[in-house]
């Protein structure tokens, strides 16, 4: 498992504002590594430093064996980026954009093939200014991947997209990883990080507060699994409490809430069946990264998108 990005005690300050505070993490080849946090957490600053767009105030970092600050031009040939706040001239047409950016790579980029591969063929003569949000993102990802970079940085890729476009964009990201490119995904959407990332670093106030697989994070920090159901008639609480993994049973009128670890989910169903009880509206809720974020930072994340 090679490390393609290594960051040690990275720091970035502006006058008296600390945007990035002692951040350390590694990214492995071929993974989708997420950097998750609310707006203003320092995520974009961190990845811009990785790309050589900003200079670090302190710390060591290495991307593909290169120093982003001193070897920016060499790095730019191997790292593609889709930036958060970026644009192209309004009247620049899609095919022209691909051709222009394609000029930066050798061997020469096949504009037609690129447009077809990204479903931009019928938009080739459309000016950038009239493209929809989803079409722009598709173009930006296509541009970021010109020349087959080893790493691609995607910053807030699905902000402003409708649910269908978001799902389609997620498929694109999976496709990119399947092609062998390492992906660094910056997002404030919890569901996006959960769905796409192999590992996630949660950032808050310029620091990394946790870093693990989404499953690892939710298991350790997300709180209990909750099972809720409605039941008519008597229910023996002690039997449920005896199920392995159950921590608590709460009964409120007809609704029962069982909290515990994920192993309890099946056990509770079996226990109810053994008692001859057929519960209504049986639901199991697993902790999400949103719960993780809440437990780590004490606040709900901003810009939630539960679609």
């Amino acid at each position: 498992m090679d490390t393609v990005i290594s960051v040690d005690h990275l720091r970035k300050t502006y006058a008296d504002v600390v945007a990035v505070d002692d951040v350390s993490f590694n990214v492995h080849h071929g993974e989708i590594f997420g950097i998750l946090g609310a707006n203003g957490a320092g995520k974009t600053t961190t990845v811009e430093i990785l790309q050589g767009l900003r200079a670090p105030t302190g710390g060591r970092l290495e991307v593909l064996g290169l120093d982003p600050h001193r070897e920016t031009d060499r790095l730019r040939r191997r790292l593609g980026a889709q930036l958060q706040a970026s644009a192209l001239p309004d009247r620049l047409r899609v095919a022209e954009a691909v051709r222009l950016f394609g000029r930066l790579h050798t061997p020469r980029v096949d504009v037609g093939a690129t447009l077809e591969a990204w479903g931009l063929d019928r938009l080739r003569d459309r000016p950038f200014g009239v493209l929809s949000g989803g079409e722009r993102q598709r173009l930006f990802v296509a541009l970021a991947l010109l020349g087959d970079p080893d790493i691609v940085v995607l910053d807030e890729l699905t902000t402003g997209l409708d649910p269908t476009a978001r799902r389609a964009t997620w498929d694109v990201v999976r496709q990119v990883r399947a092609g062998g490119t390492t992906v660094v995904l910056v997002t404030h959407f919890m569901d996006e990080a959960e769905s796409l990332c192999d590992r996630v670093a949660v950032m808050d106030g310029g620091q990394i507060v946790a870093c693990d697989t989404p499953r690892g994070l939710t298991a350790r920090l997300g709180g209990p699994v909750t099972i809720t159901f409605d039941v008519t008639g008597r229910l023996d609480r002690t039997t449920l409490l005896a199920v392995p993994g159950v921590d608590s049973v709460t009964i409120d009128a007809a609704q029962v809430t069982v909290a515990g670890q994920s192993v309890a989910a099946a056990g509770v169903a079996v226990a109810l069946a053994e008692q001859g009880i057929r519960p209504d509206d049986y639901r199991t809720r697993y902790p999400t990264l949103e719960d993780v974020f809440l437990s780590l930072t004490g606040r709900p994340p901003s810009g939630r998108n539960r679609t």
Partner: protein, 243 residues
């Protein structure tokens, strides 16, 4: 890359003809007005030139200055504001390529404006030919480079298109009125004329007038224009590298 970027910028310019028309309309119309009013005047107040030559040469300078003070800075600052510059830089488009492409666009616009003025002046007012066409062209070219240096530098430091436009208007009107854009400078106090002669537009107009009237180049003015160009380009390139 530089060539392709330049070609792309020129294509984008042609798709927005309003920019071309509006930025050049003001100098052209004003020139026509002033030439009409003063063509039969001469004397020390007009630097001992005929009124029409006086104003045509002043406005040839204006065509370059309006692009250098306003057009280019607004365009570049607009690119910064909207994120186009970051997008280019992140992909590896070099600062020199940006500077060269903007200079090419400025040159095209200045030449188009100058050509329109000259055609109008000859066709409409029977303007006398310059003593040295080559000298005038050389001076114009030095001016294009100087104002491209100023324009790209301003564009690299102004935070927004609006701010660039505001400052550009101030610089343009402030200096142009002093060198003959409006009342002939001869009626202004001597010290104002002395200062005005050292402004970029003052230098450019002097550089154009010398070969027009006498056939000789104004060496010092041309040298300062080239120096302005060099410093402007260097600062702009350094600044754009850090975007």
């Amino acid at each position: 890359m530089t060539g392709h970027l330049t070609w792309t910028e020129l294509k984008l310019l042609v798709r927005e003809p309003l920019v071309l028309i509006l930025s050049l309309m003001f100098p052209i119309l004003l020139m026509v007005l002033l030439v009409t009013a003063f063509r039969d005047h001469t004397g020390s107040v007009f630097a001992d030139l005929d009124g029409d030559v006086f104003y045509v040469t002043a406005y040839l300078g204006a065509a370059v200055a309006v692009m250098g003070f306003m057009g280019t800075p607004t365009h570049l600052a607009g690119y910064r504001e909207s994120g186009v510059l970051r997008r280019f830089r992140a992909a590896g488009v070099g600062a020199p390529a940006l500077v060269v492409s903007q200079t090419a666009v400025l040159a095209v616009l200045a030449v188009v404006g100058a050509a329109a003025m000259i055609v109008l002046a000859y066709a409409g007012f029977n303007l006398a030919a310059p003593a040295s066409i080559g000298g005038v062209v050389a001076a114009f070219a030095a001016g294009v480079l100087a104002f491209a240096g100023i324009g790209t530098f301003l564009g690299s430091v102004m935070p927004s298109a609006r701010a660039a436009q505001g400052l550009g208007l101030l610089l343009f009107l402030g200096t142009f009125l002093l060198v003959g854009g409006g009342p002939p400078p001869g009626v202004l106090p001597g010290v104002v004329n002395d200062i005005a002669a050292w402004t970029p537009i003052g230098l450019l107009i002097d550089a154009i007038r010398a070969p027009w009237a006498d056939g000789a180049l104004d060496g010092p003015a041309m040298a300062v224009l080239v120096a302005i160009a060099t410093v402007g380009f260097a600062l702009a390139t350094r600044r754009l590298r850090r975007t």
